[in-house]
Symmetry: C2
Subunit: 129 residues, 2 copies
């Protein structure tokens, strides 16, 4: 059994930040669960375009307020606590944090922890890195 505490991990190298977001990796590929699990915090007022071509991701809003736009359809959905989106079509999307958003994220295949977002908003597949 693995037991981990977000409040401890956020002060370690399991906490990864980019310009206006932070992601604490609670579970990564080498934990052997077949998915990874992250707590991701997006700064109030920030906007992010991602395109996980090689991963499925689900994102559950625990706190905050914002929106997500599906860039294929142009449709925008409100994000608030209790709303989940799942990128089952590897959907390219723009996420906006009106207030700070705290999100519980699952990735399949699991993130290894060494990925960086590429210019196209994707993470490389494990065998491309």
């Amino acid at each position: 059994m693995i037991v981990r505490d977000f409040h401890k991990l956020k002060n370690t190298d399991k906490s990864v930040s980019d310009a206006r977001w932070n992601s604490v990796r609670m579970l990564l590929a080498d934990d052997g669960m077949g998915f990874s699990f992250h707590i991701t915090t997006l700064e109030a007022g920030s906007e992010h375009t991602f395109h996980y071509k090689n991963h499925f991701e689900s994102v559950y809003c625990m706190s905050g307020k914002g929106s997500i736009t599906d860039l294929a359809t142009g449709e925008t959905h409100e994000i608030r606590p209790g709303v989940m989106y799942a990128l089952n079509l590897h959907d390219r999307h723009t996420l906006r944090a009106e207030e700070e958003l705290v999100m519980a994220c699952c990735f399949n295949p699991p993130v290894t922890g060494t990925e960086v977002h590429r210019e196209d908003g994707s993470y490389a597949a494990a065998d491309e890195t």
Copy 2:
């Protein structure tokens, strides 16, 4: 892109209850993500013994207070917001809710939605049902 709202799903057949817990299935096997994602609420004062012999499960505490005992080692860990446990060894365990616990749960392989807990605390593998 799939977008779902916990507050809407909890009044539908995606909300499954047993004696002293409720689980809202935000994502199931047929969503094709390769994992399932549930928001599970355990009643204050309740105790549950589970043994997912056929699944890996991670559980992140969003609110409440309780504990988990690993029945193989006898070790007990405190559960509070920010604590996650992951049953990477299919660990048989007892979960106690001192206060109502609200947990974000990921299962691999994904739950289909038709499983029931068997006497031994497990869910059947998909091909056993």
